[in-house]
């Protein structure tokens, strides 16, 4: 999450570029960004698995069998647990839990973030001070321990409850970025003009401000989904939420509880971890894409380093590279 918070500091800076009208060409550019595209493909894959996972799973994830602690084979792609459950099926079935919590928490938190952030940025004055202080308080309070004590006091913490608890604690980052962005948008000529024309506030917000915040809202949403996925898996892993509902964290919980590590049953905890990493990476990549789309300075010049080396170009600040490639036909 620290990668994201750095964006906070840059936001005002970036506001200028972010608010540029999104022409079809620029949208197309975003899709052309390989990072974003890779991320979207991976995310799409996991979304598909979340939908069809339970149907295509070869075994019932809870079913015991005689194949106890088997390493990966064609029968059991990711091996089996101490009581012969199929790890591959557990992960397939668990994908839905992960994705649902991630997206529900993402949507709810982003909605709260937009409401609070945009309102604070738009109304200004004392209301702004109050709402900013509120979101800063939620930013500074360590979220995970807070989620742990809330979830720990709930009689039964199922997936949706966990999603709501995560959303209730994780909206502040998005709100903060959006507030800063709205604040800078509000001072722009076209907003000032709309206000001077006597447009209604809600119309200015929905028609003029929100469209210009799309990229930031999307980035906030993606970041929150990542945060929610990690938090939920962590909660499942330490066994605070229901351990009978399958998700990748539950798989890891049982692996840890049944001493998979000590028995060398690497197949029990490696695939789940890699799935988390892959999903997290896809979200990070999408966010990189959005970041680079919003702040062109971050684009790693969009070219491959080998080709540059061949031409003996080393791009750097303060020493413009010189290559003698241009034709010289003037005297």
């Amino acid at each position: 999450m620290s990668i994201d918070s750095e964006v906070l500091e840059r936001d005002l800076d970036v506001a200028q570029e972010a608010a540029a009208p999104t022409s079809p060409r620029r949208k197309f550019l975003f899709m052309r960004n390989t990072k974003a595209l890779t991320g979207l493909v991976i995310l799409g894959f996991f979304t598909l698995m979340a939908i069809i996972g339970p149907w295509i799973a070869p075994y019932d994830p809870d079913a015991r069998s005689k194949d106890v602690l088997q390493p990966p084979s064609w029968d059991h792609l990711f091996g089996t647990t101490h009581i012969g459950q199929d790890v591959f099926s557990q992960i397939l079935v668990g994908t839905r839990g992960v994705m649902v919590v991630g997206f529900v928490a993402g949507i709810v938190a982003t909605t709260i973030g937009v409401l609070i952030g945009v309102t604070a940025g738009y109304i200004g004055g004392f209301g702004d001070e109050g709402l900013s202080a509120l979101s800063n308080v939620f930013l500074v309070i360590p979220q995970l321990p807070l989620i742990i004590i809330i979830a720990g006091q709930l009689p039964s913490a199922g997936g949706l409850t966990v999603a709501l608890v995560i959303a209730a604690t994780g909206w502040a980052w998005g709100a903060r970025v959006l507030r800063a962005q709205t604040l800078s948008l509000r001072k722009r000529d076209f907003i000032e003009a709309a206000r001077a024309n006597g447009e209604k506030s809600w119309r200015i917000i929905t028609a003029e401000i929100l469209p210009n915040l799309t990229a930031i809202i999307a980035a906030g949403f993606v970041g929150t989904v990542g945060f929610a996925v990690l938090s939920q898996i962590t909660l499942s892993f330490i066994g605070i939420t229901s351990v009978s509902e399958w998700n990748w964290g539950t798989v890891l919980f049982w692996a840890q509880a049944q001493l998979a590590l000590q028995q060398g049953a690497w197949w029990w905890f490696v695939p789940a971890g890699l799935c988390i990493a892959l999903l997290g990476m896809s979200l990070t990549l999408i966010n990189f894409g959005i970041d680079e789309f919003v702040n062109p300075r971050l684009r790693s010049t969009g070219l491959n380093a080998r080709k540059l080396r061949k031409r003996q170009i080393r791009p750097r600040i303060g020493f413009t590279p010189v290559v003698h490639e241009a034709k010289e036909d003037r005297s």
Binding site: N136, I149, I238, W266, R297, A305
Partner: protein, 326 residues
């Protein structure tokens, strides 16, 4: 000075908010925490403790919410966090006092190491764009996406189980009596190395990526070009101009993400059974030891706030603009 006054007011508000959240959580939750606590305590709770529990959870129907709140604040003001169920009869504060130094030692040192090294690497990568250093980026991206605890699992599987280099759990050799001898300190370092390394490796990528992006942004500022135009040495331009300014948002993002990082590293303590406050919180949650849970949360929050104040002072020292009068 205004900067600091504003910040102090903010932290006071945050502390108050954390305390208030702590007060309300058990009161708005469904179910009866006192009965649950007594059940969880399994007869270890004397009937005398019930009024105290009720005060803590505000079950006492004869009192208004407001007077419960005032009572609660008064308890806190006297450093009374209630009595733990699991550590029979011990005040929560004492239990936490035992665990806190371990956490501050492990999480604190590992986080600072990670921040310093990550920031250095990040400024290098951000400065030398388009070189081999860029290939560190995808690796960092991967590590920033992995949950901390999973990396800890892998570290244990490799370094303790397979190679046997480091112990997989605990914070010092249990055959030793804690004292200030070199042997004991050596044992603490030996036991702490693997958890610390895991924390550093899993949190460092965030700092690398953050600093890299800040370096890229700052490098295009005019004053960096001016520094190059002056013909200053590469080292001076990099550290005096580019990194020196890029570190400012890095420090404030350090403060902001502390809460997140501390959350993640506390889970490390659980995986390594390291006797810090994260492990304590975990045990408290499993044992439904509500006073201990809430005490842990409050202390963690206060520790994060203290670290935030520290980061603010560092920021103030680094950026002359915050020292401006008026």
């Amino acid at each position: 000075m205004r900067f600091f006054v504003r910040r102090i007011i903010f932290y006071a508000i945050t502390l108050w908010a954390a305390i208030t959240i702590n007060f309300f959580i058990p009161r708005v939750m469904p179910g009866d925490p006192v009965q649950a606590a007594i059940a969880a305590g399994g007869g270890t709770i004397s009937p005398d403790a019930i009024p105290a529990l009720q005060a803590l959870f505000g079950i006492d129907p004869t009192q208004s919410l407001w007077s419960q709140y005032v009572d609660y604040l008064q308890m806190l003001a006297h450093g009374d966090l209630g009595t733990s169920f699991t550590y029979i009869g011990s005040p929560v504060l004492d239990v936490i006092k035992q665990a806190l130094p371990w956490t501050i030692g492990l999480v604190g040192i590992a986080t600072i190491i990670s921040f310093v090294i990550g920031t250095l690497i990040g400024s290098g990568i951000g400065w030398r764009r388009g070189t081999w250093a860029d290939s560190l980026l995808p690796i960092s991206t991967f590590f920033s996406a992995v949950p901390y605890f999973w990396l800890a699992l892998i570290a244990i599987a490799i370094f303790s189980v397979a190679l046997g280099w480091f112990p997989s759990s605990g914070s010092y050799d249990r055959n030793m009596v804690p004292n200030l001898s070199w042997d004991f300190i050596g044992s603490v370092i030996y036991y702490g190395t693997l958890p610390a390394l895991t924390i550093v490796i899993s949190s460092i990528s965030g700092w690398i990526l953050g600093m890299r992006n800040m370096m890229v942004t700052v490098s295009s500022e005019d004053y960096v070009t001016v520094a190059q135009a002056k013909g200053l040495s590469e080292r001076k331009v990099l550290f005096g101009y580019a990194a020196r300014n890029a570190i400012l948002p890095q420090v404030s993002s350090f403060a902001l993400s502390l809460g997140f990082i501390v959350g993640g590293t506390l889970i490390m303590e659980i995986v390594f059974s390291y006797q810090g406050i994260g492990f304590l919180l975990f045990n408290a949650v499993n044992a439904k030891d509500y006073p201990l849970m809430q005490g842990c949360f409050l202390v963690i929050t206060i520790a994060v706030l203290a670290a935030n104040i520290l980061a603010d002072f560092v920021y103030g020292a680094l950026d002359p603009r915050t020292r401006q009068e008026g």
